[in-house]
């Protein structure tokens, strides 16, 4: 520390303000860079190509933010330690020269432009739909598509699943009309395009390991995608306040192998059909449309 030693060392400890600031600086200096490579400040490990891109840009921006925070705070503490008022110190009444501000501004501008370009590039990477992998449901040739546009026609359509938010559960509808609540089952290494909509209020889809958040807004269908690279279960939670039960609006994505997925889909379809038949039988037992309406109402409630 380039502090002029004009005072005995004892006066230093007697200043709790400076000691506190210094301690704080040391803490920040120690915690921030070391934590950068430790577990706490890292996001959930990505299990989808777009999540991997996100993790990369996250670390870049984390480093930028850490540099800003450390630089500002060290400079602040340095100024306090060096230029604290003491007897005989006259403040130097200096003002900026003509060229200083444009130079600093230009430097900051360059940093901002670089971040902007990197931001655009990574955003494009995250949005480009990657093709399904070799172990996926439908192996496809390499191609990408923007989500705002319609996907190009081809022999390698991704798996499209309709995810519909409602207070406070997600409903997933598969291409063959089968549906499930809460748990989405998808095959591994397969590009899944989720079409998000909502039957009531605004919900926000998010599985941390599988890439970006996206709002489900009534009246609009939005699309997001992921391609899970590993079998397993990934938990997530809606991230937009949707009323009293919002904290319980969770979702789980279970990634399984392709044969398992096919088997699950068949079983789920059969289970649903059995359940519907059971309901119909019950309705017939009770007799008449009146009872049917009552059962339907009970189910709705």
């Amino acid at each position: 520390m380039a502090r002029p030693r004009t005072k005995p060392a004892t006066s230093f400890a007697s200043r709790p303000g400076i000691a506190g600031f210094l301690g704080f600086a040391l803490l920040a200096l120690l915690v921030l860079p070391s934590a950068a490579h430790a577990a706490p400040f890292s996001p959930e490990p990505g299990h989808s190509p777009n999540a991997d891109t996100t993790t990369t840009i996250y670390w870049i921006m984390f480093a930028v933010a850490a540099v800003v925070v450390v630089a500002v705070n060290v400079a602040l503490i340095g100024a306090v330690v060096r230029f604290r008022a003491r007897r005989g110190r006259e403040p130097a009444r200096v003002r900026a020269g003509r060229r200083v501000q444009p130079r600093v501004g230009a430097l900051l501008g360059v940093v901002a432009v670089v971040i902007f370009v990197v931001g655009i590039v990574t955003t494009t990477q995250v949005r480009d739909v990657a093709p399904s992998g070799p172990e996926g449901l439908e192996a496809s040739s390499a191609r990408t598509a923007q989500l705002d546009l319609s996907l190009p026609e081809g022999d390698s359509e991704p798996l499209r699943i309709l995810a519909s938010g409602q207070q406070w559960v997600w409903r997933f509808e598969y291409p063959d009309g089968t549906f499930s609540f809460y748990e989405l089952v998808v095959p591994v290494d397969t590009t899944v395009v989720l079409q998000l909509d909502s039957t009531d209020v605004v919900h926000r889809w998010w599985i941390p390991e599988l890439g970006r958040k996206f709002d489900a807004v009534p009246g609009r269908t939005n699309q997001t995608w992921f391609r899970a690279d590993e079998e397993g279960t990934y938990d997530g939670q809606s991230a937009a306040y949707s009323g009293a039960g919002y904290a319980t609006m969770r979702a789980r994505v279970r990634v399984v192998s392709v044969p398992e997925y096919q088997a699950w889909l068949d079983q789920q379809g059969k289970d649903l059909q059995d359940a519907q038949e059971a309901v119909q039988k019950r309705v017939q037992q009770l007799g008449g449309a009146e009872a049917g309406a009552a059962v339907a109402q009970g189910a709705a409630e």
Binding site: T54, V72, R86, A112, V113, T122, V202, P208, G211, R220
Partner: protein, 581 residues
């Protein structure tokens, strides 16, 4: 204060009262006054009262989140606390606290004897108070429960059929209208009531921030008034502005409301930036490193910040080009905010820093804001925003920026101008305790929130499940919020105590260089007996220099006496006795 020196322009007599004031109780005078100082005190006192409520609500919510799957507070009550808390912290505390400081200080700084539209100013305050009372009156029957930002359709009658959301709409709408009206008054004052020579380039930096904040509030507040009216029509008169099924758009509300909340954020921060700039210059004993650059940066922060409202809507279904626009505006803010930080550090550098409470809080504000805005810089990059928006990690950035701006920055301004308002200083020891509690509290609260957000904890939840280290993070964050609350209450208690019992102090305790320190403490109703001519950015320093110059070069004028009587007279005078009349 003695009469100002004669290097200034000759005194311009001005009629300040046309009748003998009627004798009325103090509270009637205060409540019916259009005086900017009375309104400033009312704004500040009301805003600080709402700060206490916001702190209580924050503490209650954090109590609920201490342990996983807690059942202390029911989900319904939590939703009501959450919805009231958001409106209280930003609309009923953040903006009016800034406006109160502006109302009190700016006319004094620009050498004005009052505001341009005193009754309009008073109308603005009473609208704001009516809004606050309306919001809290809902606790008598049913508080709002549609979230910090009540997004339709959740806030429409289908999903919120009670009148809670209506009180939110009316309360926030009335307060926003009050801010707009008040901003008109302040902007007209800044435009027309500046002292002779107080051209814009010499305008003190806090007054610059008031001008920028005033325009931001004027535009953003008007948008919110319109949005609240539209939502009210949707709810009460079968409107379809935000109803997707009938050709309206829920996204429209998001644009309008986020435009307002972004404006509020910008206005709060810009006002804090202005106060910090003044405090750093005063307490380092130096002029601001570059008055022009700081004023320009404040204007740029206001203009660019307003354009970045869609930074809150990265996950909404809007065309990708709009999010690029928001990212560009947010990243462009790097330049003016970086210049501000650079100029602040350059102002400190080479000074003689008097570490009194205002400077301590200003330094803490810069430090805390640096955490928040560095976080915002990261979240403004779209993929990072997609991952972390709507989590406690992004919320931690907002807490850092707003605690740094409104609480630490606002308290710095309070400690700085308190002697002007009351004629007394606030206690230094409690100030230090409060400062460290706030600083430790905000970090202990926000850092675990970042970690929890990275692990997937979303904002606004009334409970979380015991997964990973979430329980540890939330426990630490809760303890941090309690320490933060303690720090806030210490300063509020300090202010309440010192208002009557603080150490009485002169008109210019900090050796300021702007004109508010030229007036008495507290200033008389007409502020200045004589309005000085302004010749630079440090008018009071110029006056001090002129006084010193006059005193040092002053010689007793030659005495004209009859020469015959001189010997006898001088022998009398040499004995030092008082002349006998």
């Amino acid at each position: 204060m003695s009469a100002p020196p004669t290097t200034l322009a000759p005194a311009r007599p001005e009629l300040v009262s046309d009748r003998f004031p009627a004798r009325r109780p103090a509270w009637v005078t205060l409540a019916t006054s259009g005086d900017h100082k009375a309104l400033g005190v009312l704004f500040i006192a009301t805003a600080l009262a709402f700060l206490v409520l916001a702190v209580v609500e924050l503490v209650l919510m954090r109590v609920q989140l201490i342990v996983p799957e807690s059942t202390i507070i029911s989900p319904e009550i939590f939703g009501q606390l959450l919805s009231t808390y958001g409106a209280t912290a930003v609309v009923l505390f953040g903006i009016p606290f800034a406006l109160g400081l502006i109302s009190y200080v700016v006319p004094l700084q620009i050498g004005a004897r009052g505001t341009a539209f005193p009754r309009l100013g008073a109308f603005g305050y009473w609208l704001y108070l009516a809004g606050g009372v309306t919001l809290y009156a809902s606790f008598l029957y049913r508080p709002p429960d549609a979230g910090v930002n009540p997004l339709p359709p959740l806030s429409d009658t289908v999903f919120s059929s009670t009148n809670g959301v209506d009180t939110w709409i009316v309360g926030v709408g009335l307060a926003a209208l009050g801010f707009v009206v008040f901003a008109i008054n302040m902007l007209a004052t800044l435009q027309t009531r500046r002292a002779p020579g107080m051209v814009w380039r010499r305008l003190p930096l806090f007054s610059w921030s008031a001008a920028v904040g005033g325009y931001v509030v004027l535009v953003a507040g008007a948008v919110m008034v319109a949005a609240c009216a539209m939502l009210f029509i949707d709810r009460q008169f079968d409107g379809v502005f935000f109803d997707a099924g009938e050709g309206g758009s829920p996204i429209l509300w998001q644009h309008l409301s986020w435009f307002f909340f972004t404006g509020a954020y910008v206005a709060i921060l810009v006002t804090a930036f202005g106060a910090i700039s003044e405090i750093l210059a005063t307490f380092s004993g130096k002029p601001s490193f570059s008055h022009r650059a700081v004023a320009g940066a404040l204007v740029a922060v206001g203009a660019l910040g307003m354009l970045a409202w869609m930074q809150n809507m990265y996950t909404a279904p809007i065309p990708i080009g709009w999010t690029y626009f928001a990212m560009a505006a947010a990243l462009a803010l790097t330049v003016p905010i970086g210049l501000l930080l650079f100029n602040w550090l350059a102002t400190l550098w080479g000074g003689a820093l008097r570490l009194r409470a205002p400077l301590l809080f200003a330094l803490g504000a810069i430090s805390t804001i640096s955490f928040g805005l560095a976080g915002k810089l990261a979240y403004s990059v779209i993929p990072v925003g997609w991952q972390l928006d709507g989590t406690t990690a992004a919320q931690a950035g907002t807490y850092y920026a707003l605690v740094g701006g409104a609480v630490l920055g606002g308290f710095a301004a309070l400690y700085y101008w308190f002697p002007k308002i009351t004629g007394r200083t606030m206690g230094e020891g409690i100030a230090r305790a409060s400062f460290w509690a706030i600083l430790v509290g905000v970090h202990a609260m926000a850092i675990p929130m970042v970690l929890a957000g990275l692990d997937g904890q979303p904002v606004d939840i009334y409970k979380y499940y015991d997964e990973g280290a979430l329980d540890t993070y939330n426990l630490i964050a809760s303890v941090g919020s309690f320490v933060l609350a303690l720090g806030v209450l210490l300063t509020l208690g300090n202010a309440a105590y010192s208002a009557r019992r603080g150490v009485a102090i002169g008109a210019d305790p900090w050796r300021g260089s702007t004109l508010e320190w030229f007036a008495l403490s507290p200033p008389p109703p007409h502020n200045f007996d004589v309005i000085p001519d302004v010749r630079g950015t440090e008018p009071l320093r110029d006056i001090r220099d002129a006084v010193r110059h006059r005193t040092e070069t002053w010689r007793p004028p030659p005495v004209e006496r009859p020469p015959a009587a001189q010997p006898a007279e001088s022998s009398e005078g040499a004995r030092g006795g008082p002349p006998v009349a």
